[in-house]
């Protein structure tokens, strides 16, 4: 069914889209309805609770009944929860396509967040730079993203220069970067950012829908797609992941390409960290612990091959979405959370098995087709 659907839609990720649709329909059908408080926007643009008044003059809050899964707020929440991992997964997915691995993305996320947060706090309501929040946002973003890019560059340089397996280098840098984050923050949570920064990232449209993280995720995905499928640099990543030796002999500067992919992984971790700063309003050195595994899981579920040479930006984003849908589905369906790790782990394995089966079917069809 998946190959047919893929054939019908004519793009590589159609199978994943089908899984997302089926999951969505199942969750919408099984979730039932929920009574949510009714809100309306006043003339000042601020959302207020809606109240009803009965014949006796008693005011009571009004509620609206909606499908637990298929309602705008839940879908916006799903997109937002997916975005932090999905954005990182695009960069880490490119590393995986090149045949490498980056275990430090969670630590880069934490370090970029705390460096950005220290600058932002300086320009926050109680900071010495309170009068220039715009400058603070620019400097905070530059500091966070700059730190993340630098981390990626260091990872890439060590991997290329020392010719050590990226697993070892990024395992080490994971601990080092988290250590730096702790030393910088002294274990404290850093908050109090300029209000305009928080409002920008938490900007709401319609019925309280926070769509900025979703928009950034889509932008990063499109940029990743353009890089991988429309630029020569992206094609070189596939070539290196498919066969590094052959790529080297065909004239590709493998070291430079590898440096680039680790830099991109750092950059996307930094973007995700900045977005979380704006959305959640604080950073600690403990942020993003274990996210590297979530990111790798998203990439694998999204069709990236851990041996390299295969995968796409849209695929890893869809992989992150599928994992988040299952995680949210566990809450929506009221399944005991004790089982959540078992369910998500099983889905990751099932996705890899299905993908392998699909690849095998494709190869068999190719072998059977007339010359």
């Amino acid at each position: 069914m998946v190959p047919r659907f893929r054939q019908a839609l004519g793009f590589q990720e159609s199978g994943l889209v089908l899984i997302v649709l089926v999951l969505g329909v199942l969750l919408a059908a099984c979730s039932g309805t929920v009574r949510l408080p009714a809100f309306a926007r006043g003339p000042d643009g601020v959302r207020h609770r809606v109240f009803t008044t009965d014949a006796a003059g008693n005011r009571a809050p009004a509620f609206v009944a909606r499908n637990k899964f298929f309602n705008a707020q839940n879908l916006a929440q799903l997109a937002k929860d997916t975005s932090f991992i999905a954005i990182m997964a695009v960069g880490a997915g490119i590393v995986i396509i090149s045949g490498g691995i980056d275990l430090s993305v969670g630590a880069v996320y934490a370090l970029a967040s705390v460096v950005g947060s220290l600058v932002l706090r300086h320009y926050g309501p109680d900071g010495p730079g309170a009068g220039a929040p715009g400058l603070g946002i620019l400097l905070g973003a530059a500091a966070g993203l700059g730190t993340a890019v630098l981390c990626g560059l260091v990872n890439g340089s060590l991997i290329v220069a020392l010719k050590v397996h990226p697993f070892i280098i990024t395992l080490g840098s994971m601990a080092i970067l988290r250590g730096f984050a702790f030393v910088i923050t002294k274990g404290q949570s850093i908050g109090d950012f300029p209000a305009v920064f928080r409002q920008l990232v938490r900007y709401e449209v319609g019925d309280g829908l926070s769509l900025v993280p979703l928009a950034v995720m889509v932008l990063v995905m499109v940029a990743g797609w353009i890089f991988l499928s429309r630029l020569a640099a992206g094609r070189r990543v596939y070539a290196i992941g498919g066969n590094e030796l052959a790529a080297r002999f065909s004239g590709i500067r493998v070291g430079r390409a590898k440096l680039g992919v680790y830099l991109l992984a750092g950059l996307t971790a930094g973007i995700s960290g900045l977005l979380s700063l704006g959305y959640y309003g604080a950073a600690t050195s403990g942020d993003g612990q274990g996210y590297e595994l979530n990111v790798i899981a998203a990439a694998v579920v999204g069709g990236a091959s851990l041996t390299g040479g295969r995968g796409s930006a849209a695929g890893v984003v869809l992989g992150a979405l599928i994992i988040q849908m299952i995680s949210s589905g566990i809450v929506i369906l009221g399944i005991d959370q004790n089982y959540s790790q078992i369910i998500i782990g099983a889905v990751v394995i099932a996705a890899v098995v299905l993908d392998n089966f699909n690849t095998w079917l494709g190869r068999r069809r190719l072998a059977q087709s007339p010359p």
Partner: protein, 320 residues
């Protein structure tokens, strides 16, 4: 006669339906978001919440369900997401133990603005719109640990502080409490504060490492009982190194009996869940606010004289 029977039957059916509708208990779902699944104290809080749900359902003719949404490892972002998801899933109220107060404040405020009251337990978010917080006063807790330790060390010696996760604000306040109280005892020196991942194995390994490197340490102020959740965490002869620890889980009690730890200060973890549910039900059903926003729970001293009586509580408190 037939003309009379029909309205009578309709009236009977209608009244039976009305009685049945009145009989259906009001359904209330309460979200419980603790810091991490793996920490046994939060599993005890969960039992407390579920027991409170059962007791209060019976008492007030309600159908209270506890929806446990706790990250596998400490992660404030995941906690914020869980609060947002619980609101969208229609929870009537939420109790949360905050891994990072700054990060959870917006999620708590948003839940309250959406008509979902929030209580905090164990670790508070003081700048948020939560209507009550239940737990120990962390600075006092640290001071009490130090005072008990000073008492059994006769006011002299070299001590170390075992402090768990360096990012947790409640633990930082306990460390501050220990250090403040230590100033009262000039003959006591604090060697250092030692942090570790909050697993029993990591905590026990940290104690062992520190003792290897600092054999002159004669006392431990443990502001959490992580190390004592394992067997044989304290490798010294009973009485040679004094130790006072917060938490009095069943595994910790063995150290009282063996003489390694003269005093444990039990946090009321079961009550974290039980009291939080009581507060939420009062707020949701009876529109009643607590007398004070801070509902402080006392630490329960456990020593050789009351250890067996205290141990019997665990038959009720542990997950069944």
């Amino acid at each position: 006669m037939k003309k009379l029977l029909l309205p009578l039957a309709v009236a009977l059916l209608a009244s039976a339906a009305a009685v049945r509708a009145a009989d259906v208990p009001r359904a209330i779902t309460l979200g419980l978001v603790a810091k991490s699944q793996g920490n046994p104290v939060f599993q005890v809080a969960r039992v407390g919440a579920e027991d409170a749900a059962r007791d209060l359902s019976r008492k007030y003719h309600l159908n209270i369900k506890i929806d446990w949404r706790t990250p596998n490892e400490e992660d404030a972002q995941k906690q914020a997401e869980a609060i947002e998801q619980l609101v969208l899933a229609g929870a009537s109220g939420i109790a949360v133990s905050c891994s990072d107060a700054n990060k959870l404040t917006d999620a708590i405020n948003s839940a309250v603005d959406n008509g979902v009251p929030v209580a905090t337990f164990d670790s508070d978010a003081p700048a948020s719109k939560r209507f009550v917080t239940y737990g120990v006063d962390d600075r006092q807790c640290g001071q009490q640990v130090m005072d008990e330790l000073a008492k059994i060390m006769n006011g002299r010696g070299v001590i170390a502080i075992l402090a768990g996760n360096q990012n947790a604000p409640n633990l930082q306040r306990r460390v501050q409490g220990v250090r403040e109280a230590a100033k009262k005892y000039p003959e006591i020196t604090i060697r250092d504060t030692y942090y570790h991942k909050e697993t029993p194995q990591d905590a026990a390994a940290k104690v062992e490492q520190v003792m290897e490197a600092n054999p002159d340490i004669t006392g431990w102020a443990m502001i959490g009982g992580w190390a004592l959740f394992t067997d044989h965490a304290l490798k010294w002869q009973p009485g040679t190194v004094k130790c006072v620890s917060v938490d009095a889980l069943p595994a910790c009690l063995a150290y009282i009996r063996s003489g390694h730890v003269p005093v444990l200060l039990g946090q009321q973890c079961y009550q974290w869940g039980y009291r939080s549910v009581e507060h939420l039900v009062d707020k949701i059903v009876f529109k009643k606010d607590p007398d004070a926003v801070k509902d402080v729970s006392a630490l329960v001293p456990v020593n050789i004289s009351n250890v067996d009586a205290y141990a019997r509580n665990w038959d009720k408190w542990l997950p069944h």
